[in-house]
Symmetry: C2
C-alpha cells in the first residue's frame, strides 16, 4: 500500500514495487526498479513518464492517496475503537503496574488497531509500527487470558501473560526475539520475576519461529535491516560515535519536550476537538513536503535500510556515487575509500533537508489519534545524521590521510571508514535518547542488523545518548506521556523525601474520623448506611471504637454481596441484626434478631505500617508488593489508611505537580 | 602454560604453541603447527620425535606437568585462601541474597584465585574459567567498595556493585558483555532493579572495551569461538536440534545428581580430609586418560573452537577429512556435502571416547578444592555430542538424499548440513541443562560465536534442555550446591504450602514467652540480664506486659552500646535506673535514680504481620523487602517473631529436608 501512492503493478495490483519487479528480466541492480510491469500513475494514465505534467500528476496522486489512507485510519479509530490510537506503550506500562483501563485490550481495539496501523504506515506519515504491534500483541494476550479462568480471574497472572505478549510483539515487529524480551523487561513490565523472563522468552521464540516460517522478507532471515560490513572499526572512530551519542541525547530531549508541549496544547485547547482534521492536515503537509525529496518519499524502513548499507561494487544508489579510481582493481568485497562524486554531494543536501523535515514532523505526528510508533522515525533521524557524519569522516580520512589521527588506520587505497556503520550507531543513539533503553536497545540493534561485531560502538553511543538526555530530564517519552495523561503509575525511581506515613494517611486532622466497623457491635443497618454514605473500596474492622485495635479489613463489594445474600436467603436477618466479625457470635436471647456472621469475608491479614514509617519505605512496599491500600497503626491502635491514590498524590505534591491531574479508576 | 605440558618454544619459553609458530615460514595451514621453534619435550631432550620412547617421555612429562600445576594450585588455595576454591557462583548468589561470608570477597581470595585459576586451567583438568572469573570480578568490586564510604557502609549499594561486577566478570571471561549482564540478572543477582541493569551494562561495556584494547586473541575480535557458516539451517534440522536439547537436559540431570552425590560423600566421609590428595589423584587420572586421545589432550577451549568450526577448503583438521569429489569445482566458501574419509571415522571414535571421558571426569572435578568453572566443560560435552550428531546427519543426507525429508533441502552437490552448527547447538543445550539459564544462555552463545542467524535453533535447544532437565529436578547446579552447603538462600520459587504465620513464629506453645522490653518499666539491670541470658539480635518493645501492644523494635547492639555509654558518661544512671522508650520520661522524685531515655535507638516502624497471614505472603515479603525479622501481632497485641532463619527452616521442613542443615551467621 505504501507503493500504491506512487504507482501500480500491472501484473497484480497488490504487489509492491520490489515484488512486482522480481520476475522482471532486468537483472542489473540499477535497472531493477525500472521493470515494465510497474507503472507510475502518470505513466499509466497519460503514457508520459518524464514530463513536468507527469510529475505534477504523480505528486497530486501521491498526496491524495496519503490523505485517503490517513482519513480512513483516523475515521475507523474515531468510530470503532478510540483506544486504538497512539503507540499504546504508556498505557500498557500503566496497566502492568496494576491500573485497569476497561476495553483498552479488547477485541475491537485489536481489530481496528491492526487495520488502521496498516493504513497509517502506508499513508507515509512519520510513524512506525513497533509500539502499536506491542499493543496488538497485548490485546491478543488479554483475549487468550479470558479463555482460561486461571488467567482471567487472577490479575497478577494476566499481567505476566501481557509481559510475555509485549515481548512477542517486539519479536514480530523487528524479528528480534531477545530484544523483545529485554524490551518487555526494561521498558514495559513492572514486575518481571524470572519465571516471566523464561515464559516471555518462550513466547518470543514461538513468535520468531512463526515469523521465520512465513518468511515475510523472502530471504530466510529474521533480520530486518541486514548489513554486512567488511572492515572493523578503529579506536579513533569512537570520537564520532560519541558525538552521535550526544546528538541522539539532544534529539531525545528536543523530541520529548516538543512533543509533550504539543500534546499538552492538544489536550487543553480547541485543537483536541478536531482530531480528524489534525490528522488530515499533518498528512497533507507530510506528503507535500516529502514527495520532492527522494529520501523522504520512500517508506522510512527502506530509507533506513539504504542508509545502513555499505557501498558495494553493485550498489547503484546515489549515496554510492563515488569517483572511480581506475588505477585500483580490488576484489568486490573490499572497496577502498574514494573521493565522493556529485551524486554523494546531492545526496548529502537531500539528507540534510530530510533530517530537518523528519525532526520537525515527528514531533507533531506522535500522539495524534491514529496508531503511531516512534522506533522507526527515531531511527531514521539517527540514521540520516549518522550517514552524514560517516560520509564526512570518510572524505576527511581520504583527503587528509596524512593527519596524525588517520595515519595509523587509514592508508590510501584502504577501506577504513564505513558510513553505514555510522548510520547504525546514530540510529541507536537517537532511539536511546527518546526511550532511554540501554541493554534492550543494543540487543535490538544487533538483531535488526546482525552486526554483532559492533557492540562497543553501539554501547558507547547508547551510554552517551542516555547520559546527555538524562542531564536534561529523567523521563523517557513513555513516562512523559504517562505523566501527561495522569495515569496512576508508581515509577521505579527512589523516593527521597523525608515525609512519614502519618503525613500522608487519611483522615487528616481536620477531617471526620476513619469509617470503621466494629467486630461485634455494628448492625446491618449501620453497615448499609456506611456503604451508602461513603464510596471507599473497603473498611477496617476494629475490636471496639474505644480500643481501636485492628482485626482485619473487609472489601466493600464483599460486604454488599454478603448482606444482600443474607437478606434474601437467611431468615431472621433484619436491619437491626448485629454483624459479627468474631470467630463465634455469642448466644443471643431468642427475642434478639438473628446475628449475621461475616468472618469469612474478613481479610485477617491486612497490611499495616506504623505512623512513624518513612514514606520512602511505604512507597517501596506499595511498589514491591503491589498493594492497593495499607493501614496505619500506632502501638496496635488504628490511626488511618493510605491508599495507592494517596501515595501517588503525595508523590506528585513532592514533585511540585498538581496532585489532581492524576486519573483514577 | 597449557602448551608447556607438551613442549616448549625455543625462541621464547613463555609463548604458546600457536604464538611460537606465528613467525614461522610454514604458511600452509597443515604445517602451521610444525614449526622448528616449537619442540616437544622428547624432541628437545633426546632429539627423537617419532619413536615409541619419545611418545612415552612426552606422555610422562605431560602427566608430570599436570600434577605439578594442580599440586601448586591446591596447595596455594589450602595455605592462603580456602575461599578461593570452587566456582564461587553459589556463594555469590547467597551473598547477594543478603548473607554475609567474611573474607569471601577479600584481597587474599582475589590474589590466590587469580593465580590458582591459571594453574588449574593449565593442569588440563576438566574445568573452566568463567565461574572463578565472576568471583574474581566480585572481589575487585568489593575491594573498590571499601574505598568509598557510600558503598562500604550500605550493604544494599554494595550488592548492586557486586551485581555489576558479576556482569563484568562474564563480559571478560567470554567477551560477552550483554550475556554478562543477563547472566548477572538471571543467575547471580537477587534484587536487580533497572538502575542496576543500566550500571551493569556500563561496567560490562568498559570491561569489553578494555578487553578489546588489550586484544588478547590477536584478531581484533571480542568473540572467543568466532564461526562463520555459509548455509542457513532448514526446518527439518529442528528434529536433531531438539534431540540435542533432550541430550543436554539429560546430561544436566546426570551431572547435577552425580556431582551432588559425590560432593555430599566428600562432605560426610573421610574423603573430605584429603583435598590435596584428591586433586592430585583426579589430575593424574585426567592426564593419563587424556593424553592418548588428541581431542582430550589439547585444551578444552581449543577443542570447542575446532568442533564449532565449519570445514573450509583450507582446513587440515582430521574432522575435515572428507573424500574429495574431483568432478566438482566450487568456490572456497561453499563446499558441498561429501562422503566422510577415514580421518572423519577415526575422529568420530575418538570423539565418542572423549565424550564419555569428559562426562565422567567432570562430575568428579567440579567441587574440588581448586578454582573450577563448569561452562567450558559443559560446552565441551555438548559440542562433542553435537558434532557427532552433525556428522551423522550430514552423511545421512549425502548418502540418502532421495529420502523425503532430505529431498527439499539437500540436493546432491549442495552444502546443506553444517556439523559445526550442531556442535554449537549441543553446547548450548548442555550448558542450559546444567545451569538452567535461558535468555542469558542464548545471548552468550551469540556473543561467543557471532552466529546471530541461528537464534531459533539455539532457543529451541535451550528450551527443550530446560524442560527435560526440569522434569527431573527443578534445581540448577548452583542452587543444588547452595542447598548442599546449607547456605541461607531464599529462592525465588513460589511457596505454595498453606501454613500461616502463626505456625512458624516463635515462641512455640511449649516455649517460654517472647523476650520483650516494656516502654517505661524495665530497669537497666533487667535489660542487662536479658542481654546476658539471650542471644537474640533485637527485642520488641511493648507498652506493658499486660497490654502487649507493640511500640517498636530495638537492636541488641544498639542497646549494649547505649547502656555502656550511659554507664560511663551519664551521671546517675545505675542498675535500677528505669529505661524509658517513651517520648518523655515522667518527672521523678529526686530520690529515684536518674532515668535512661533510649527512644532514639528505638525503631518505630518495625515490620508486622498478623498471625493469620499466609506464609506464602510472609515469604514474599521477606524476599521482596529483604527483611531479617518480622513481628507477629493479633489485633494490635504482640504474639511472636519470625526471623529469616525461621522462614528458611520452615521452608526446608516443608520440602522434607533437615532444617538443621542450614548454616547461619
Amino acid at each position: 500500500m505504501t507503493d500504491l501512492k506512487e504507482g501500480v503493478c500491472l501484473s497484480a495490483f497488490w504487489y509492491s514495487h520490489e515484488q512486482c519487479c522480481w520476475t522482471s528480466n532486468e537483472t542489473t541492480f540499477a535497472d531493477r526498479d525500472k521493470c515494465p510491469q510497474w507503472q507510475k500513475w502518470a505513466e499509466l494514465m497519460t503514457g508520459h513518464t518524464e514530463s513536468a505534467g507527469a510529475y505534477v500528476l504523480n505528486y497530486f496522486l501521491y498526496v491524495l492517496w496519503a490523505l485517503f489512507f490517513s482519513f480512513l485510519a483516523v475515521s475507523l479509530v474515531r468510530v470503532f475503537a478510540p483506544y486504538a490510537c497512539g503507540s499504546g506503550i504508556p498505557e500498557i506500562k500503566t496497566i502492568l503496574s496494576g491500573f485497569i483501563i476497561r476495553g483498552y485490550l479488547g477485541k475491537w481495539t485489536l481489530l481496528i488497531k491492526t487495520v488502521t496501523l496498516v493504513l497509517a504506515v502506508s499513508s507515509g506519515l512519520s510513524l512506525g509500527k513497533e509500539g502499536p504491534l506491542v499493543h496488538v500483541a497485548c490485546c491478543c494476550g488479554n483475549l487468550f487470558c479470558s479463555l482460561f479462568s486461571k488467567y482471567s480471574k487472577n490479575e497478577g497472572k494476566r499481567r505476566e501473560v501481557l509481559s510475555a505478549a509485549a515481548a512477542a510483539g517486539v519479536s514480530v515487529a523487528f524479528g528480534a526475539p531477545i530484544g523483545g524480551v529485554l524490551f518487555s523487561l526494561e521498558e514495559v513490565s513492572y514486575y518481571f520475576p524470572l519465571k516471566t523472563l523464561w515464559r516471555s522468552f518462550f513466547a518470543a521464540l514461538v513468535a520468531a519461529f512463526t515469523l521465520r516460517s512465513i518468511n515475510p522478507f523472502g530471504n530466510n532471515r529474521l533480520v530486518l535491516f541486514y548489513v554486512e560490513y567488511h572492515t572493523p572499526w578503529y579506536m579513533a572512530e569512537l570520537v564520532p560515535f560519541i558525538l552521535l551519542g550526544v546528538f541522539g541525547g539532544l534529539w531525545g530531549t528536543l523530541f520529548i519536550r516538543g512533543n509533550i508541549a504539543w500534546c499538552r496544547r492538544r489536550k487543553t485547547t480547541q485543537l483536541g476537538k478536531y482530531p480528524v482534521l489534525e490528522v488530515i492536515v499533518v498528512t497533507g503537509i507530510t506528503a507535500i513536503l516529502a514527495f520532492p525529496n527522494p529520501y523522504t518519499r520512500r517508506s522510512t524502513s527502506e530509507l533506513i535500510s539504504e542508509l545502513f548499507n555499505d557501498c558495494g561494487a553493485l550498489e547503484s544508489s546515489q549515496l554510492c556515487d563515488y569517483i572511480n579510481n581506475p588505477n585500483m582493481t580490488r576484489p568486490v568485497d573490499d572497496i577502498p575509500d574514494r573521493p565522493a562524486g556529485p551524486g554523494v554531494y546531492t545526496a548529502l543536501w537531500q539528507l540534510a533537508l530530510a533530517l530537518i523535515f523528519k525532526i520537525v514532523i515527528t514531533i507533531f505526528t506522535f500522539g495524534m489519534k491514529i496508531p503511531s510508533g516512534l522506533f522507526i522515525p527515531s531511527m531514521a533521524v539517527g540514521a540520516i545524521a549518522g550517514r552524514i557524519v560517516g560520509i564526512a569522516v570518510e572524505q576527511m580520512a581520504y583527503h587528509h590521510h596524512d593527519w596524525i589521527i588517520f595515519k595509523n588506520w587509514c592508508r590510501p587505497g584502504a577501506d577504513c571508514v564505513t558510513p553505514g556503520l555510522y548510520a547504525m550507531v546514530g540510529a541507536a543513539a537517537c532511539l536511546g535518547g527518546v526511550t532511554r533503553m540501554t541493554v534492550s536497545l543494543v540487543v535490538i540493534m544487533f538483531e535488526l542488523t546482525g552486526g554483532l561485531e559492533y557492540i562497543v560502538p553501539l554501547m558507547a553511543a547508547a551510554v552517551t545518548s542516555k547520559w546527555v538526555a538524562d542531564a536534561f530530564g529523567k523521563e523517557g517519552i513513555y513516562e512523559a506521556h504517562i505523566r501527561l495523561n495522569g495515569y496512576p503509575y508508581l515509577d521505579q525511581d527512589e523516593f527521597t523525601h523525608r515525609t512519614l506515613a502519618t503525613d500522608v494517611m487519611r483522615p487528616r486532622r481536620s477531617e471526620p474520623p476513619l469509617a470503621v466497623l466494629t467486630q461485634d457491635s455494628t448492625t446491618v443497618e449501620d453497615v448499609e448506611t456506611l456503604i451508602k454514605e461513603t464510596d471507599y473500596n473497603g473498611f477496617p474492622v476494629v475490636v471496639s471504637r474505644e480500643s481501636e485495635r485492628l482485626i482485619g479489613f473487609v472489601q466493600r463489594r464483599d460486604l454488599i454481596l454478603a448482606i444482600k445474600n443474607a437478606r434474601q436467603k437467611q431468615d431472621g436477618v433484619v436491619s437491626n441484626s448485629i454483624v459479627y466479625f468474631t470467630e463465634d457470635a455469642p448466644q443471643q436471647p431468642p427475642s434478639n434478631p438473628q446475628p449475621l456472621k461475616l468472618r469469612r469475608i474478613l481479610n485477617l491479614s491486612p497490611f499495616t505500617v506504623t505512623d512513624h514509617t518513612p514514606m520512602e519505605t511505604v512507597v517501596d512496599i506499595f511498589r514491591k508488593l503491589g498493594l492497593r491500600q495499607c493501614l496505619v497503626t500506632r502501638s496496635g491502635r488504628l490511626l488511618g489508611i493510605i491508599t495507592k491514590k494517596d501515595v501517588l498524590r503525595h508523590m506528585a505534591q513532592m514533585m511540585n505537580q498538581d496532585p489532581e491531574s492524576i486519573m483514577f479508576n
